[in-house]
Symmetry: C2
Subunit: 344 residues, 2 copies
C-alpha cells in the first residue's frame, strides 16, 4: 500500500482528480492507514491493490484515464447477504401478507395461497411465472414515488431472521472498504444488479455511498401520466429491462456508455459482465465472491450444500470459466477478517 | 451576478461542494467575470441567475442539496442547430448514400430511392415508418463500437450546408455558458434527447463537456453476443426506448433516479420534462428556446414560417402552456448577443 500513498506520486494523482487527491492527502496525513483493513493479506487483497496501483499509474501501459475509471458491483451476494432469500424477495413476500386483507381471493389462488400459508416447500418450487405474479401485485400499480416510500417504510421495520439486524446492516464491510478505496482513487462505483433498480436506489446512498444515478438494475415499464392534474410516473405490471446475464453489459452500456475496468460478482448472472470488463483495454480486475463461510455467513455454490435461491448461481461451470480467464476468487472465509460492520 | 460571487457567501458554497467552491474562487479572483457573457440582460438571463442563486442559498426555503442539483437539456434546437434537418437525420441520409453501392435494390425501393435521388419534396413527406426503415439500415446491424466509429468518422467530414462548419461547432455559445455556470455551482448537467443516445455520446464530452453517463436518449435494442470468441454488443433493428414526450421524464427517472430542478427544451417533445421538473420541490427553472432569429440562425414555430422538420415542434399550444405555467421563453434574437462560438 505504501507505494500508492507515496508523496512523490501525489502530483500525478492531483492531476487525475481534485477530489481523489484531497482524499489521499487525508489518508496520508493520518498515517497511511490501510484502506482495506478487513481484508487478510492474500491473493484477493493483492489483486485489488495491484489493480488500483496500475490503473492510476500514468507511467503504466495499462493506465486508465480518470473518466474511464468505472467499477461495477453486483449487489445480492456480492455486496450484501442474499441467503436464505434475497432481500427484495423477502420484501415481496412481506408485501403479499400486508396486502392480503384487501385480496381475500388470494387464500385460494396460487402462488399467493402458498405465501400466505408460509408453505416453504411450495415456495421453494415457485416458477419464474409465480414470482412474476408476485412482483406484479407488489411492485406495480403505484407511482414510483409511492413505491419508494413503501420500500423505505419496510426497510425501517424489517430484519433478517438469522442476524436480527435491518437488511441494510448486512452489507459486507470488506466490500464497503473496496468501494471507498476505489472512489478515493478517482473511480466511479456503480451497482449493477439483477434486482429492481427503484428498490435498490432507496438505500444505495445510505448503505453503499452510491448515488441513485450509479445504480443500474432491472426495471418494469413506467408511464408518464396525470393524476389529479399532477404528473406521476406509474409503475406498470410489465417487465421493461432485465439487468442480468447478458443484460448486465447491455445495461452498463445503456446507462454509462463506458466499459468498466473492474467488476465484482458472485454468480452466473455476473459472468457476462466480467467477460465484457475483461475484453477492454488497460488495467482490468475481475473478481467473484465465494460464499464458503457457514459460521459467519453461509456456504453455497461450489463451497456448500445449501440450496440455491436465485436463477444465477455460482455453478461449477462458472468456477471453470473463472479459472480459465484468470478471474480472482474472493474466499469469504480466508480473505475477509470481518464480514459485517457490526462485528467487533 | 455580484451577489453570487460575493466573498461573504463563499463559506456556504464551500460547504455545498468542494469543486464548485474551487471554481467560484477562481472566478472571483479573476475579477468577477460574467459567466453568461453571451446573454443580454433581460428576463431570460435574470431567471437563470436568480434560480442558481436561490438553489444554492442555504438560507433559502428553496435551497437544493448538491446531490439533487440535476439539470436536463434537450439537444436538437436547444443546444445546437436542428434546421433544416436535425444532425442525426443528415447522418442517416448520408449513410444511405454511402451504403447504396452494396444495395442496388434501393434504386427502386422507397424510402431509399427518394434519398438517393435527393428528392426533397418526397423526403419532406416521409412517414415515421419511412424514417424507421432508414434508421434500421443505417443504425443497426453492427456493434456499438463499430457504430460509434462510423459516427466519429462522419462527424469529422460532414459540414452544415449553410454555415459550412462541422456540426459540432453549431452549438449555441450561450447554452454552453449556462451549462458551465451550472456545473461551477455544483449542478450535474444532463443531455436528455429524443435523438439516439449512442450517436450523441460520440461527441457530447467534446462539444458540451457532458460525459457519456450524463447522456439520456433514445435507443435501439442491444444484444450481448460473441463474435470470433469475443463479446460484442450488437445493435438490432428494433426500437428499445423513445426518449421523447412522456419518455423524457421516464428516461430521467430510469437513468438518474432524481427529478431535475431545471430543464431546457424547445418543442412539444420537451413539454412533459418541463412539467415533471416544475412539479418538484425547491427552486425550479423551466425554459424554452424560441427560434426567432432568421438572420443569425432560423425562425420557426411561433416565430416563423419555416416548415417543421421534427415530430416535436414549438406549437402554439406549447406557447400557451408555457405562459400558463410561467415558463421562461428564451428569444434567440433578443436574449443572445452571440449564437455560435465561432462568431466574433
Amino acid at each position: 500500500m505504501s507505494t500508492l500513498l507515496d508523496s512523490s506520486r501525489l502530483p500525478e494523482v492531483i492531476a487525475a482528480t481534485i477530489l481523489s487527491c484531497l482524499c489521499l492527502t487525508v489518508s496520508a496525513a493520518s498515517g497511511q492507514t490501510d484502506p482495506l483493513l478487513s481484508w487478510s493479506d492474500g491473493p484477493a487483497k493483492h489483486a485489488i491493490v495491484s489493480f488500483v496501483r496500475e490503473a492510476t499509474d500514468r507511467s503504466s501501459a495499462n493506465y486508465v484515464a480518470p473518466q474511464d475509471r468505472i467499477v461495477a458491483f453486483d449487489q445480492d451476494g456480492t455486496l450484501w447477504v442474499e441467503h436464505p432469500l434475497y432481500t427484495q424477495g423477502v420484501f415481496a413476500l412481506d408485501r403479499v401478507h400486508e396486502l392480503a386483507p384487501t385480496h381475500p381471493e388470494w387464500r385460494e389462488q396460487q402462488p399467493f395461497a402458498a405465501v400466505l400459508a408460509s408453505d416453504r416447500p411450495a415456495m421453494a418450487r415457485f416458477s419464474e411465472a409465480d414470482w412474476a405474479n408476485i412482483v406484479d401485485v407488489t411492485h406495480a400499480g403505484m407511482s414510483s414515488d409511492a413505491f419508494q416510500e413503501i420500500v423505505r417504510d419496510w426497510l425501517e421495520k424489517a430484519s433478517d431472521p438469522r442476524f436480527h439486524r435491518p437488511f441494510t446492516e448486512l452489507v459486507y464491510q470488506p466490500m464497503l472498504e473496496v468501494m471507498r478505496f476505489f472512489r478515493a482513487n478517482g473511480f466511479k462505483t456503480y451497482i449493477v444488479t439483477g434486482g429492481g433498480e427503484e428498490f435498490v436506489r432507496v438505500y444505495a446512498e445510505r448503505a453503499y455511498g452510491v448515488p441513485t444515478e450509479q445504480v443500474v438494475g432491472s426495471s418494469i415499464l413506467t408511464q408518464y401520466e396525470y393524476r389529479d392534474g399532477r404528473p406521476v410516473l406509474m409503475r406498470e405490471p410489465k417487465v421493461f429491462f432485465i439487468d442480468d446475464h447478458g443484460g448486465k453489459p447491455v445495461g452498463i452500456n445503456l446507462f454509462v456508455g463506458k466499459r468498466p475496468c473492474a467488476a465484482f460478482g458472485n454468480s452466473t448472472g455476473d459472468q457476462q459482465m466480467l467477460e465484457w470488463t475483461q475484453a477492454g483495454k488497460g488495467a482490468r480486475l475481475m473478481m467473484l465472491v465465494l460464499h464458503d463461510d457457514p459460521e459467519r455467513e453461509y456456504a453455497y455454490g461450489p463451497a456448500g450444500g445449501l440450496p440455491d435461491t436465485k436463477v444465477g448461481v455460482f455453478s461449477d461451470a462458472l468456477m471453470a470459466e473463472a479459472r480459465r480467464n484468470g478471474w480472482t476468487i474472493i474466499s469469504m472465509k480466508k480473505d475477509w477478517k470481518r464480514i459485517f460492520g457490526f462485528e467487533k
